[in-house]
């Protein structure tokens, strides 16, 4: 896509044509770069996924149709990773929305002096590198260096000998905790922006009419925030589905914690199976498209309007 050749639509004045040309001159480079860094690689990945191709034996590269996909899709390892990724996505997004909404409500209602403190505090996780968050949570729960086992040994099931990273459930718990901690600020800021758009008169009117706090929340606040909630959920869901950093640092996929991104990474970068790795990459990409499709068609998330594009 480049500067559209002029002359389309004789009715358009020279000025409009100049404006269109200037528009594409200004926006064109960014547009081209965006396509170059994503569309080209994903097409290349799709192309490579149709070949039997490993870097350890590059000479043996041969077209094998869709066999890579058959191999991947018939491998229980892929489906386990898919399931783990799905569970992580669902749980983290659900918890984050509830927690984020609570934080947004707190910030929204707090008196001015507290509001600043609260906002400052919840912005701290936002500024932390995901890998650092992963290490912080890992060391806190680690059986030898961690303090969690000592602090919470009164909780049934937790004692000094509990190795959180030796079991699937407990590993996933810590992985999700780190993920939730790191990304809830973003969601709560989006929800706070949504909250501040709920017309105050509506709430007051409902209050005057004797609506309880829960009723006001359910009938007035939430419906008016629908767009903000949906956008926050969709963005976080897509982000959570790509989870990689936390898993890599904490367990590197041990004990049934392998997620799709990690599986793709291990297949192509670790084992240099470019053909198979590309197939997983393409499938992961299709999953993301699928989530978007479901969100937009089923839940009618209007990203354009919600994102301020009238």
């Amino acid at each position: 896509m480049s500067t559209p050749t002029g002359g389309r639509g004789r009715g358009r004045s020279d000025r409009a044509r100049d404006e269109a040309r200037l528009g594409w001159w200004l926006a064109g480079p960014a547009f081209v770069v965006m396509l170059a860094v994503t569309v080209y690689p994903i097409l290349q990945a799709f192309f490579d996924s149709l070949f039997s191709y490993r870097l350890t034996a590059p000479g043996d590269k041969a077209f094998n149709g869709g066999r890579n996909y058959v191999v991947v899709l018939s491998d229980p390892v892929f489906w386990r990773a898919f399931l783990v990724t799905l569970v992580i996505t669902l749980v983290t997004v659900l918890v984050e929305v509830i927690l984020g909404f609570f934080l947004a409500l707190v910030m929204h209602r707090a008196i001015r002096s507290l509001r600043g403190v609260l906002r400052t505090a919840i912005l701290v996780p936002y500024g932390i590198i995901t890998v650092v968050s992963a290490f912080a949570w890992f060391y806190a729960f680690d059986i030898s260096s961690g303090f969690v086992n000592h602090w919470f040994d009164w909780v049934p099931g937790i004692d000094a000998d509990l190795n959180w990273f030796a079991h699937q459930g407990t590993s996933l718990f810590v992985i999700m905790a780190s993920e939730i901690w790191k990304t809830t600020p973003f969601i709560s800021l989006l929800l706070l922006a949504g909250l501040s758009q709920v017309p105050g008169e509506l709430e007051e009117a409902a209050q005057v009419d004797g609506a309880t706090w829960a009723q006001r929340l359910q009938r007035v606040v939430l419906p008016n925030m629908r767009a903000a909630i949906m956008v926050a959920v969709l963005f976080r869901a897509l982000d959570a589905f790509r989870i990689f950093d936390n898993v890599f640092i904490m367990t590197n996929g041990a004990n049934g914690t392998t997620v799709l991104s990690l599986l793709a990474y291990r297949t192509s970068i670790g084992r240099l199976e470019i053909g198979l790795g590309s197939a997983i990459s393409v499938l992961l990409f299709l999953c993301v498209i699928g989530i978007c499709f479901v969100a937009i068609k089923l839940f009618k998330v209007d990203l354009a309007s919600a994102r301020g594009e009238a």
């Binding site: 990474y265 990409f285 354009a304």
Partner: protein
């Protein structure tokens, strides 16, 4: 405004305390770990028994120096360049989107949205292969280019939202006074747009600074490996020692400046993050 009852005051104090602990505890815990003696890591206490700067010495002047300092340089350099390029391109694009009327505006915004939800790992495999063939593997440029896929879309969205709020009459006034569109853009609009551009640059920088997937996949040595990836390769002072202390110290070193930046510009960052995302 109604005055707060004592019960409400206590309630707010408790809520604030809970939020503070929740937000800060993991950070404080890794800071505490970074000051622990390597031999006292296994005590299971939160605070160090005896405070030490051994871990910081190890990464800044000691045995882990050659692992950490090049990574720090790479992270700063690569993130700055990727941010700069993205913000320049996005400023031009967002100006066009906010200001000019032309076909394809929506296409550009939709593309930016699509790119921003792109699973990074899907791009890594082909890039890994291509970079090895054309010599970009393990180079700065080899990371700067894919980083644009992270920094450019969010820059376009955030800036477009900022630019929509600029009083464009000023530009028209300048044009009435005989300025060309370019002059009007430069003289009247740039000073107004600068805060939005700065905020966008901050947000884009954090995203580049945070990257791990590209960093670990497209580098192999300290020539280009950024800090998050380098942390995963830290080893203890000896083969029998866990690198816990060194990693914690390095994590604190790369975290503190960013957290200070976030807190210093929190107002701008909050508006930048939310303006792009919610109508307002």
């Amino acid at each position: 405004m109604k005055t707060l009852t004592t019960r409400m005051k206590v309630g707010w104090a408790v809520i604030t305390l809970v939020v503070l602990v929740w937000a800060l505890l993991p950070v404080v815990s890794i800071v505490a770990t970074s000051f622990k003696l390597p031999s006292q890591l296994d005590l299971g206490t939160f605070w160090p028994k005896s405070w030490t700067t051994t871990n910081y010495e190890q990464i800044l002047v000691g045995s882990a120096k050659d692992l950490f300092l090049p990574a720090l340089r790479n992270s700063i350099g690569i993130s700055l360049v990727a941010t700069f390029v993205a913000v320049v391109l996005a400023t031009l694009a967002a100006y066009a989107i906010a200001r000019l009327d032309f076909r394809g505006k929506r296409l550009i915004l939709t593309t930016a949205l699509g790119v921003s939800i792109f699973p990074v790992i899907s791009i890594v495999t082909p890039l890994f292969n291509l970079w090895r063939n054309i010599g970009l593997y393990d180079t700065w440029l080899g990371l700067i280019i894919p980083y644009l896929s992270l920094t450019l879309p969010i820059s376009i969205w955030t800036l477009a939202a900022f630019f929509r709020q600029i009083p464009w009459e000023l530009e028209q006034a300048a044009q009435v006074d005989g300025a060309t569109p370019w002059q009007a853009f430069r003289k009247a609009i740039v000073p107004l747009a600068a805060p939005g551009v700065f905020t966008t640059a901050l947000i884009a920088f954090f995203i580049a600074w945070n990257d791990f997937v590209y960093g670990i996949s497209l580098t192999s040595t300290s020539a280009a490996r950024p800090v998050p990836a380098a942390l995963a390769f830290f080893t203890g002072a000896s083969q029998f020692e866990e690198p816990t202390g060194a990693i914690s110290a390095a994590a604190v070193v790369v975290t503190v400046p960013v957290v200070i930046l976030v807190l210093a510009f929190q107002r701008q960052i909050v508006s930048g993050l939310t303006q792009g995302a919610v109508k307002g």
